[in-house]
Symmetry: D2
Subunit: 344 residues, 4 copies
């Protein structure tokens, strides 16, 4: 039996939107990238033309009205995510949305409600879950290879801080950067975070502090299943993108080390010299971007739940809020305290 | 200035031909895959249709006559390579040809002469030179990091032997499998092999011996620059595709280890367990197939020599012949002895 | 000029006392192990006789009165350390004392005062500082290779919990086990811990919880120099003794991984199998025990300060007390709060 | 039952003799180092005095006449080994002798005959068999973990060539340096070498060539069990002592990599920097020297065969002779050709 080809519209054609578009064209041949909505339209039109896509619009609503479109990829700026989710859900389209759903919890809840009412599928773009290295680690954990979870550590350091001007609109390091790690913590532990204690510092660049943000942090987490975990963040690791995890339990541990730029090793009269980790997320997580879309389209065509649900999109935001409060007041903060604030 | 898009015809649409075709479509967007020639035509037509390529023929000559076609990729069966090279050269097309150019030395020479007379470019498909790990190793060697070359070792073991019926037409292990390693030896050493001593054995499967071939070998080489090297081959490594190199010189060494399926490591009460190497050449050398075409098209559009010349296609065949003779007579064989045989 | 041979008396000939004694005999030939004091005397006498040491007594005071004895190694039970330090100091003997100096802060202070008044040297047995791997890491840190310190992590997990009956007298996990890690944190950071936040759990064995202790913990530390650090402890790592460190700063990081039982690696049809870490502290830190004595005797004979001072013996105890309070009250605790309690 | 303490005499107190002596004193407390014979006597006397050994002589015969001496360690210069073995055998002493037994095959045979007639035990000092890493590798091989042996590779490179003046008396690189690797090949393969093909070169230092020796070599071996192997030697690896092995068979492979000076790894903005291998044989094989004596004394006290027999001492010499002939005549040489030369 031949499966009907899924038709998808791309909403937002910035860096990540184009990346998803090219991945569909090159590697997900069972999906058709039927149309692109983007503001402003010019750059997107050129990009699309080179790829044989002629349907480009500034008005995404137009695409939502097309009954041939099965799904949308929302890659526009964060402040538009919730509105587009709500519109797409009402139009009966399945939704892949870049993280975060929204900066505000009530807005996220509103979007999730719209999705639930419409009965469409929603997948949030926590791509690192689809990294083959981390996915293998989780597979081993779920297969019982480490027994009961005791400790979990995530190291997550960027090679360079973002531009200072970006920091003002980023929502702060926990919401902008650590959010991926909060998701990874839930993914690897198969549990929810119940309490966090966060320590932050400005050690990389005083300008980051002046912009009201931090650049270095350690966040401690207590999980619902009794385990304890940490996340370690820096906005600048001199040796490059440092992305490692360790999951320790009653029967052993699983760890994932960095992926070097190449395996060439030079032994000299001074030392043994290996290459640095792959430069940044586009290199390190290249495969994960393809695989997350693959998983989304499989969920759509096989009518199964998506592997990163709306709830998975909400929880890291709550943890980030708890971490912010913890750092501000230098005390452990229970997630329930945050949930109560928002009537959850 | 905008560069004219190169139009390329694919001749032969078997496994490797399709792989090249898909790589062009997905990752070499500056090149246009304009047409496909394949016998029989049916499977190729379906494959091409799914990719929006409508020009498919059983008659490659037809494509050579098209003045819009700039280059051909020859991916047909080995016994057709030389003829197509000669025809394509006469038609003034640039040529990328899968290895080997031909099974017989005179036929290779004939093809190379045709290429030379026509003044077209020829690149032979020794893809491993474009593997980022080995390419980095060579870059370090050429940058003088190991000083003068003293020793060179290539480990090259397959995860599974080919079907026994294939062995009869393979030309023997040295011509079929080691040929890549002979090329790698020349690539890494930046030198020619002057003498070989080869020991072969049937240790993996007696049926391979009954088919007149070997499955295990060690080939020792003396290089023109005075260095000594070895190649170690097995048709079956239980743990998978084993592809390593080591280049040792007066100032140090460069080595490349295998690439594991993932970096996940499990520490259990028994041992510390890592993943096996990537399964076989399609996984291990995935990037090299894209990069060799990239290099070919760059050479064409910038009118530079290709990085794997016709001579680079001939030399490994001569070394394989020397290795066969060495093994048969259990004595070191000079390449000059082979060259004389063919009046080279 | 030939240096006078140092004469040393061993006080306490249990496991660690005998280890030090044998290390002196085998590897510190410039020092003479002149006498042993041990209660009960029988086992010590036999052990000493086999090594040609005939002077064995139950009364360490006797040895302190001997003007030929230059130094003592205090390896008796913890509750006797302070008293023997005070007696030895008064007798003008240099002192190497196993950690901890005492379980109570006032008693430690009393002992340190006695040492200071007597002007003798005191070295506390934080042997891990002398591990060649960690010592090399610190050397790199002090040489400025990682720039300014930002983050520090210590992983410290035992292969097996101690007997339950021992836990009652151990002083709790932070005082008994983490104390080494608190010292390592100070050693690697070259800074003092200002605040701790400790989370503990009973995940390994409920009997440990019934004995009033924990078996799993993560302790977060803020250092005087602004850096943030963590210590991760478990009483039972299924794969063995896990002793790793990572020191991260503005210019890079230094890390030390475990030392495997051997470098033999088996690649099988299932996976790539390495050996587990060396079993426990006697194997892993074997060299450190020799080197700490070497450093002590060098400090004595060259009249330099010892590399692990009395203050270095006191600080980890204060951090452990802060960690206990933090865990009990689930709040960050400043070291100053503990210092004030003891009028320090 | 308490075992009688073995009394041993050390004959020859140069570097290796003193090393063995100190190892006995420090770590083999069940053995008594009763006497030392050394020419000239002065240095040995001082060394012995510091260790409480008062019986020192220039005349080893004197010690052979002492009925209390059970065994001798022959660590004198190579040209004296055979004579002392013969004398010691006649005196009924068990013998541990440094390699090689002698430079000449007939002399070795004479010594082995004397040992056999006397019925005493003889162990030859091929210490690398007792290296814990290589011993583990062999244990895995013998446990069937790699199935049937197919390929074996030994990498053996020194950090520095010996003094040029030494080369004249060394017997040539194969006899002086590769001899250890020939033994390792037999040890790991559990088989005999039947044929060798050796290529040598002078690439490190022309002065070595002028002294009539080589400094770089690759030796290919065919084993009695059908496997093929190589040894790779260099007198100078810029990055230090390179001692690795790989044993490949039908079910997998076992490999042993170098042991670094420490596990500290620095990640900088340039690269990831590890430490070089341990400097030379005294560091790398430290444990093996203790363990070979332990094994010898166990064989003596339990009346079992020694783990490195006289035959194990002879075979590598025959292989070295075959390798010399092979290199000289540039042809493969069967061991039988050498055996016939000596009527073996």
């Amino acid at each position: 039996m031949k499966r009907k080809q899924i038709q998808v519209a791309l909403i937002g054609a910035g860096r990540i939107g184009k990346l998803h578009g090219d991945n569909i064209l090159a590697q997900l041949t069972e999906v058709k990238l039927a149309a692109v909505a983007s503001v402003p339209i010019e750059a997107a039109t050129e990009w699309a033309a080179l790829r044989g896509i002629t349907r480009v619009t500034e008005n995404y609503q137009e695409l939502l009205e097309d009954p041939d479109i099965d799904a949308v990829l929302i890659c526009s700026s964060t402040d538009t995510h919730a509105e587009i989710i709500i519109d797409a859900a009402k139009a009966g389209k399945h939704i892949f949305c870049e993280k975060p759903i929204a900066a505000s919890v009530p807005r996220i809840v509103e979007a999730l409600n719209a999705v639930e009412e419409a009965g469409v599928k929603l997948q949030v773009g926590f791509n690192r879950r689809f990294d083959p290295h981390f996915a293998k680690a989780r597979e081993l954990v779920r297969a019982g290879k480490i027994g009961e979870l005791h400790l979990l550590h995530i190291t997550s350091r960027d090679p360079e801080p973002p531009p200072i001007e970006y920091l003002g609109v980023s929502g702060g390091m926990f919401m902008d950067m650590t959010i991926h790690d909060f998701d990874m913590a839930r993914f690897l532990s198969d549990s929810d975070v119940e309490e966090v204690y966060a320590a932050g510092a400005v050690l990389v660049d005083p300008a980051i502090g002046e912009a009201g943000d931090i650049d270095t942090a350690v966040i401690q987490m207590k999980f619902a299943n009794g385990a304890i975990g940490t996340i370690d963040n820096s906005r600048k690791a001199a040796y490059g993108y440092d992305q490692r995890i360790e999951v320790f339990g009653s029967k052993g541990k699983v760890s994932v080390d960095n992926v070097p730029e190449s395996n060439a090793v030079l032994s000299s009269s001074e030392s043994v010299i290996s290459e640095k980790p792959q430069y940044f997320f586009l290199e390190r997580y290249q495969q994960s971007f393809v695989r997350e879309l693959q998983a989304f389209f499989e969920a759509v065509s096989e009518n199964r739940p998506t592997p990163v649900t709306g709830q998975d999109g909400l929880e890291p935001v709550l943890i980030a809020l708890a971490a912010n409060l913890s750092m501000k007041e230098n005390r452990p903060v229970k997630l329930d305290e945050i949930r109560k604030l928002y009537g959850l």
